[in-house]
Every structure is written in C-alpha cells, then in structure tokens.
C-alpha cells in the first residue's frame, strides 16, 4: 500500500467526475466530425493517393524506379522502415513498460500511443514488402512454407528473417493489447447508445466489445491478462529494435558492424517514438479539447523521457566516433571520417543538431512546459531520427572498399512518393481511429479520477498499488 503524494501535480484537471470522463471522450465518437477533421482527412487522402500511384508504378515496373544503384543497394526504403518501426516503440513503452512501473500518467495517453504503434508498424512493413519487388511471392520468401522448389526452407540464420518474425509478432501482440484495452470502452459507447436510442450504433459497438459487461470476475481476469501482456510486450519491444539493428550489426560493413547497435537503436526508437506521440497528441488534444486529460504535466513528463533517451543517443554517437578511432581499424576509421566530413556531412551534422543538441533545450522548465516549443522540437527530433538512419545506411554504403565504385545516392520521385504514401496511410488511419474509437482509455482514467483529480488535492488517499 502506498499513499498518493499530495505534492504531485494532478493527472486529471477540471474537477472531473467518472460520468464526465464517459461524456467527454465518447462524444467525439457520437458527434459528427468537425470541419478540421474533414480537412485533415482530405490532405491525408491526397498524400495517400499520390503515394499509392508511386507504389503501384514501382510494383508494375520494378524497383529500378528507385534511385538505388549497385553501390547503394539500400537507402530510403530501409531508412523509412527503421524510422517507422522506431516510432512505434513509444506506444509499447507507454502501455507496457509504464504499466509495469505503475506510472499512472500513462493512462491518458496509452490508447493514442498504441494506435500510433500499430499504424507505424503497418507503414514500416510496406517498405520491405515493396522492396521484395514481386510482392506476391513474398510468402514463400519470408515464411517457412513448403514450396515448389522442393521444400527449400527459409534461412533461420538470417537477421532479415528474424525481422519477419519480430515485426509480425510485435504487430499482432500490440494489436491484441490495444484491442483488449478498447473492449470496456466500446461497451461504454454501446450503453450510451442504448440510452440515446441509437440502435445501429449499439449493435456495432456491442459486436466490437464482444458483449462486455464489466463483472468483477471479468475485470479480475482482464487485469491479469493486461499485466501478462505488458510483461510479454516489454521484452518483445526491446527485441524488435534489437533485431532491426542486427540487420546491420551482423554484417561486416564498416559503420554497421558494432555491438553498440542494439541498445543504441532501442534508445533511438523510444526517443523518436515519444516525439511522434507528442506531435500527434498535441494536435489531438487541441482538436478534441482534451486539455483536462492530457495536461501540461503529461507533456512535461514525456519531454523528460525525450531528454533521457536523446542523451543516450548522443552518448552512443560519440562512443561510435571514439571507438572507430580507438579500434585502429582503417576501414572503420574511414567510415566515420567520411560521415563527419565527407559529401554527406550535412546529413551527419543535421542529425547531431536535431538529436543531440535540440532535446537538451528541455532542461529548461519553460521550454518543456511550452506547447509550441514541444511541438516544434518533437518535429525536429523526428527529422533528426530520420537522418540518423539515412546516415547509418547511406554513408556506410556509398563509399565501399573499392574507390572506383564510390558513388552518391539520389532519390527519385518514387522513393519520395513511397515515403509520402506511408504518411498518407498513417494520418488517415489515425484520423479514422480518432473519429470512431475513444482516443483516451476511459476505464483506466475513471479508476484514477477519485485519487488524482484536482478536486482531491491535499487529501492523500491510500491507494492499493500492488495491482496496477
């Protein structure tokens, strides 16, 4: 048993009651979308349509439409893949790791963050799928299925195959975790629909809620399930980016072949993921007027995580530089010398500025509690994290062992188009989610309304923290 501190800022402001929570969150599902929602959806769909055209062209003509050449065989495709997977990690961190640590501030943000995870993983998966060229043969190449070539199996020694298993497991488990969380909230919307006399909506949301009733026994099992899923997701999320980093680290390319990659990639993933959560939540909060649920205190806590992970990433960059010199390996040394001062130095220094220097501004309380500053910095961090992957991938490849094959990478409109495609996909999916699903976990927030809302400040109450 522990006492909730009276010193902490309230997690829910505005003196909300349990009934207010249902009303404030459900009304976005029940009301017609606002004009800004339609505008955002229209922009997303335009991006999606343009991207779809590029994707279809690449599938029809082949991946020669991209700017890849024989020296730089991996570029935007894998950069975008790693970038999107990384973004997904924050959702799992918030819902699983913060659940295990009993951080109750996660409750207002976990739903949207998990939705972001799912859509980001879908976006990530499109890149390796399209890069296969002949997408329809992908099942035989990626999954251990008996095939016409005499049951030749997939190579389980390859990190690329580990990726297939890691990403698909991550996607499935995240989806299940997210859905389990949604079930009680769907039931809330169903019962509101019953009271409002909306028959169709009641039936649809009852189907979605699997006939949820909220009996004490079901809640007990539900909490056991949530706890175990969190326990499973925690090593899972760490394993996913570890395996993604092994796509590089198990090779012998200078600049990739380092043991620092797994922890460095995981920290970078959480860093970029929190930045994306902030970008999305600041918009959602303003659009749906959720200021009482996603408070400045929530934003500040997320910014603190950005300082921590951003600093870890900074230390990793410096360690890489030091080791490339200290190792005495000529090729390793050159790879980093080329990163810092070669033709791609502009991308290296963009990465350094965006990822290492800019998040340090969050040490100043005024900046980390400012919505405008947070929004701008969250976008800068995501630009920086995109450059990180670009730097790692392209600068290590474009100058290989034979100077006669040295070259540069130039993206075509199809490289760019496919990146645009994932943005269209991501934002239209997120907007659909925000319209039809409750964007905040109502059941969880209701459970903390009494103990941490503003009205009860100064009267600490005993809270059982042995269960989450």
């Amino acid at each position: 048993m522990a006492v909730t501190s009276a010193v902490r800022d309230p997690l829910i402001t505005g003196g909300k009651t349990v009934g207010d929570v249902s009303h404030d969150i459900s009304r976005h599902v029940e009301n017609k979308p606002t004009r800004s929602w339609y505008l955002a959806m229209a922009i997303s769909l335009v991006l999606f349509a343009y991207g779809l055209y590029c994707v279809c062209t690449v599938l029809w003509q082949g991946i020669g439409m991209w700017g890849l050449n024989k020296t730089v065989g991996w570029a935007w495709d894998i950069t975008n893949f790693v970038w999107w997977v990384g973004i997904g990690h924050a959702g799992t961190l918030i819902s699983a790791i913060l659940l295990l640590f009993r951080q109750r501030w996660r409750m207002s943000i976990n739903r949207a963050a998990e939705a972001m995870t799912i859509f980001a993983v879908i976006c990530a998966a499109t890149f390796p799928l399209i890069h296969m060229g002949r997408l329809w043969l992908g099942f035989y190449w990626a999954l251990p299925l008996p095939n016409t070539f005499g049951s030749l199996w997939t190579n389980f020694n390859s990190p690329l195959l580990w990726d297939v298993f890691a990403i698909s497991t991550y996607f499935t488990v995240s989806l299940v975790f997210w859905y389990i969380g949604l079930i009680p909230d769907f039931a809330t919307i169903r019962d509101r629909a019953v009271r409002q006399g909306k028959k169709v909506r009641a039936i649809v949301y009852n189907t979605l809620s699997f006939g949820w009733q909220g009996g004490a026994k079901t809640w007990m099992r539900y909490e056991a399930v949530a706890l175990i899923l969190a326990g499973l997701s925690t090593p899972l999320v760490l394993s996913v980016h570890t395996i993604v980093s092994m796509d590089f680290a198990t090779s012998v390319i200078p600049g990739w072949h380092t043991t620092i990659f797994p922890p460095y990639f995981v920290a970078g993933a959480i860093f970029s993921g929190f930045a994306m959560v902030l970008t999305l939540l600041l918009i959602t909060r303003a659009l749906f007027k959720l200021e009482d649920y996603i408070t400045i205190y929530h934003i500040e806590l997320m910014n603190i995580i950005i300082i921590v992970t951003g600093s870890i990433v900074g230390v990793a960059y410096i360690t890489e530089l030091f080791i490339s010199w200290y190792s005495g390996v000529e090729y390793e040394g050159y790879a980093f010398y080329n990163r810092v001062s070669g033709p791609y130095a502009w991308s290296y220094w963009s990465m350094m500025t965006c990822n290492v220097i800019s998040p340090q501004l969050f040490w100043i309380k005024k900046i980390r509690t400012s919505i405008v500053a947070t929004f701008v910095l969250s976008i800068i961090v995501n630009i920086g994290m995109w450059f990180e992957r670009f730097v790692i991938i392209v600068t290590s490849l474009h100058r290989d062992y034979v100077p006669s094959s040295w070259t540069m990478f130039h993206p075509t409109m199809y490289d760019i188009g496919e990146y645009v495609f994932t943005f269209g996909l991501f934002f239209s999916a997120f907007l659909l989610f925000a319209k039809f699903f409750p964007v905040i976990n109502m059941a969880e927030v209701k459970s903390i309304v009494k103990s941490t809302s503003e009205g009860t400040q100064g009267t600490p109450r005993e809270v059982d923290q042995t269960r989450h």
Partner: protein
C-alpha cells in the same frame, strides 16, 4: 419455458462505499450474483471471495508450446529436412535460432492467453449481455443479487439491506 429469473439490483455511486457494502452484504449471509463496474475496483475480487485468476498459468503453457514449436521447426527444417551450410556454421546452431524462438513464444503466449480469457469469460461478438443497469459501464457500480439463490430472504429484507449499506437506488430486474 423457463421461469423468469429475478434479481434485486443495488446501484452504488462510490467504489469505497461499494467495497464496504460487498463485505457487509456477504457477512449477513446473502449470496451476491455479481458486481458490475465501469472500471476495475481493486480489492473487489477479494471482498467477493474470488480466487486468483489462473490465466497466467495458461499463458505460461501456451508460451512453452511456442518455444517447443519454434525450436522443433527450425531444427527439423535446417538440420534434417534440407541441411545447408550457411556461413560455415553447424546445420543446427542454436544461437541464431533464439530470436525466432523468442518471438514465437511471445506470440503464442499472448494469443493463447487472450483466447482463453475470451472463452472463460464467455465473450462473443454476437452476444448481447444481460444488463442489470446500462449505467454500469458509465459511472455506476451495480450489485446484482439473485433472488432464487437467496430463498431465505424476502425482497424487502434485501432491499432494506442494500439501502442500509449505501446503495443510492434499489431496483428489481427480471430476465426471461
């Protein structure tokens, strides 16, 4: 046709009042059918005398199935069915098999446990629940007492008991 099932339903506003009410009601010898809440109320399962859920045990065995399946699959495919030399390693080299083994363990544990949860809790997409009070997913805690299992008590006894322990409303509800 089966006879109607009659319940007496107490509506509670506050979870702390509810917890005390559950204990008092059970101590006075009344069997509670179930308590429905909009959010998990900690301590309610102990007050109602429920045993700990065994779902974690189920998850463990589903996970174990995943581990076994993944290892068997990889060892059989690369070691026996079609052995190939990859990077000069042994046909069966365990370290590179660990990632896939881990992922399948997690996958089966998660899916198996959630499926078990849905089955034991009788959750189906096409099922319309027996609702004692539609506000129980909004902001009210609802205690349902089955009149058939409490034949020693009259409706008036139960209703005054519920009022005494803090119910804001007491209603009768029957299902066919």
């Amino acid at each position: 046709m089966e006879a109607n099932k009659n319940y007496i339903v107490g509506v509670f506003e506050d979870e702390d009042v509810l917890l005390d009410a559950v204990t008092t009601v059970r101590n006075s010898g009344v069997k509670i059918h179930e308590v429905y809440s909009p959010f998990p109320v900690h301590g309610l399962e102990t007050a109602l005398g429920y045993k700990r859920s065994r779902l974690p045990i189920a998850a463990f065995f589903f996970g174990l199935t995943g581990t076994t399946l993944a290892l068997t699959m990889q060892i059989w495919m690369l070691g026996f069915d079609w052995p190939m030399i990859i990077g000069g390693k042994n046909f069966v080299s365990l370290p590179p098999f660990i990632p896939v083994t881990f992922e399948l363990t997690v996958l089966l544990a998660a899916l198996g446990m959630v499926a078990t949860f849905m089955i034991v809790s009788d959750m189906k997409p096409y099922k319309w629940p027996q609702q004692f009070d539609v506000r129980s997913t909004d902001d009210k805690h609802v205690m349902a007492i089955d009149l058939a299992t409490n034949s020693g008590k009259t409706t008036d006894d139960l209703s005054s008991l519920l009022k005494k322990v803090g119910a804001s409303e007491v209603n009768l509800k029957s299902f066919e």
